[in-house]
Symmetry: C2
Subunit: 413 residues, 2 copies
């Protein structure tokens, strides 16, 4: 019997009523509201023939043992940013739960392969700035030494916040035991961008997550009095930064799916009567092709040095973070498109700009694919984040079909 | 007998030792350190045959009565910005004091015209953001209603700070009584810019103060996820602002002495992973010619609307402050050049980009001129502000000569 989309929508609304307020969802990881959301989720498992436990990194695993120990994992995350939307992350977890329920019913509690649902811990990194916490621990790409110094706004360390959730920071790598028998991973997520809405499509098969080069770029010029310093005597750090802010569009424009973003500009001294002596900027560059990403990074560096020199400034780069592009599994992408075409007139393939827990799983070489459902206005991380109910219903149906196809594919191997 | 530059330099050093620290001068107006500086100044008058009083706005006046009641006023300000330099403002006051002392000696306490020294209250506006406080009260261009709501960082109102200095805010306009018999006003100041150093000249006659148009310009676009929003779907408020930051150089470049400065840029949400949805900037434009200034203001407005439209953004302008250009007195500018040429091989004429108390006096129609002495590296409002000792000595000599010539001119009228 098909998964029932109405169950998913009812659960989404119930969860939002329980853990949101008039500013949006408030399920920030490692806070009481998040714990409440996860307890509510576990309560939903009561009548299912399943095993549930939290792993060493706080990921929440539900298992329906199958004839084969080889497992199909469906997952996403219940945590949200502060003042978040009602779909980001929890749509994937609650759809996974409904598909899981449907399989349990269809196979009378004993499907041909083992089915698991995972709610990854702290995908968003909203409180400590460390996104993909649980999935990276699972994947062995965690960074305990670097993360030990992380604190939230109140000065509470990540380590202490973990301990309050019964997670021992030194042992989070033990989450890797959950990899055993893992045969495929599937994740449904809202697009969080405007592409599908613009194309008038409900769903897309995701080809992978783009690699990211994220840097801090600081231009150093000379602070000077706005009234007494002739234009020709200036070493205006803002001018150099402004030129780069415009140039990154040409750099991204050379490639069809590339994006480059200057998201933050800070001026010092930053007063109306002074030429900017120091300008601190950030640059975020993404592409699915590692060579394209490397070229964009190199081009931005060259441009920044050229502009700095032209403006009598210097420039310093420092890496904030980077990750390589992570392509998803070709056959699972095909299956995803098949599933979409069974519920919608057309499918579409697109890379994901945002990162997802699926990227951490795919890095391990586990066959992985994601399905996107259209976001209205491309907005997420905001209480106005939304998707048409009819599109959510199509998404649940298509994701169930994808899971069934993947299960057959695992069985046939 | 000539004024003795060594007295001025000794006094500057004494004042700095008394009211500065290792971060620079700390004579912020309406603070105890400023009061201390002013008491020290009054103590320097002890052996002179003079009258001293504070007017209703806290300006400090020293008077040496002459044969004629018509007065020549020499002035500047003792207040500084926080962490300021050792010359800004106090060079003018202490040079005025030395010239005053020389005249008192030369004329045996009874010069042909009355000579006065004024130390204007709060030229910098460093604590409450209201510069030219005392001289504008004197000139009748004060703004009591608007200034009543001003507070410092600790929330103390300007009105309360004035009261603590025995100044009644409602009565500051009574400082206008000091205008009586005022025949001419002279002010010596450091250039605070790089022009004279670049030209290899110690001194300049100032032709007037540039008019200023100072505005807040806010671009509104659409906040969007840096990973999921294709370049072509963006409404990037930073891009519109960056184009304006570069365009203002062309706008200023059409005119030889014009300056345009974008001093502050703030990005919202201002995070590495979001396209800028709102960008708040400031624009400061200056020229000595009112028509040029008006044209530059209009050109910047037009450019901002054009860029906003091209980027899918909107833009709002709001005035922060403006003042018209204030030309100095043609004959006094000639006398200033004569005086400079008696001590240096060449003179130079230039407008002042920074405002000065002299502008408030000149607005009244009082014959006014300023003399600039070279600033090293064009730096002021900073503890490294400096001028060569030999240039300071030339400045005192030339300013004395200018005062003598001006006195003769007043006498001859």
């Amino acid at each position: 019997m098909p998964a029932n989309p109405q169950n998913v929508i009812a659960n989404l609304k119930e969860l939002h009523a329980l853990t949101g307020d008039d500013r949006g969802a408030q399920r920030v990881a490692f806070t009481p509201m998040w714990t409440k959301a996860r307890e509510w989720f576990v309560s939903k498992l009561k009548e299912l023939p399943v095993e549930h436990h939290f792993d060493a990194a706080g990921n929440s695993w539900v298992t329906l043992a199958g004839v084969s120990a080889r497992s199909l994992v469906l997952g996403s995350h219940l945590d949200s940013v502060p003042n978040g939307g009602w779909l980001d992350g929890c749509l994937g977890v609650l759809t996974a739960l409904e598909v899981f329920r449907a399989f349990a019913e269809d196979y009378n509690g004993r499907p041909p392969v083992t089915i698991r649902v995972v709610d990854w811990a702290d995908e968003e990194g909203a409180r400590f700035g460390r996104s993909l916490f649980g999935s990276s621990a699972f994947a062995g790409t965690h960074s305990i030494a670097a993360d030990r110094s992380r604190t939230d706004r109140e000065g509470i360390t990540l380590e202490d916040a973990l301990r309050a959730c019964q997670i021992d920071m030194d042992k989070i790598g033990n989450a890797s035991v959950e990899r055993e028998h893992l045969a495929a991973y599937l994740e449904l997520h809202i697009e969080q961008g405007p592409v599908l809405e613009r194309m008038g499509l409900p769903l897309a098969a995701v080809t992978g997550t783009k690699g990211v080069e994220r840097h801090s770029i600081v231009f150093h010029g000379q602070e000077a009095h706005s009234g007494s310093t002739p234009m020709s005597d200036r070493r205006d750090a803002l001018a150099a930064a402004a030129r780069l802010a415009l140039e990154i569009r040409s750099i991204a424009g050379k490639h069809s799916d590339s994006v480059c973003t200057m998201g933050s500009v800070k001026t010092f001294p930053g007063i109306v009567t002074a030429v900017v002596g120091r300008c601190e900027t950030t640059l975020d560059q993404r592409d699915l092709d590692a060579e394209v990403l490397a070229a964009m990074y190199r081009e931005a560096q060259e441009a920044s040095h050229r502009f700095a020199a032209q403006e009598g400034c210097t420039v310093d780069w420092s890496k904030i973070w980077s990750i390589e592009p992570i392509p998803f599994h070709p056959h699972l992408i095909d299956l995803c498109e098949e599933a979409i075409r069974e519920v919608a007139p057309r499918s579409h393939r697109m890379p994901s700009g945002p990162l997802h827990d699926a990227a951490e799983v795919a890095r391990l070489g586990v066959p992985t694919v994601m399905m996107f459902v259209q976001s209205l206005k491309g907005i997420s991380h905001n209480k106005i984040e939304d998707t048409r109910i009819e599109d959510l219903m199509l998404a649940v149906d298509a994701f169930h079909r994808l899971a069934a196809k993947t299960m057959q594919w695992i069985e046939a191997q």
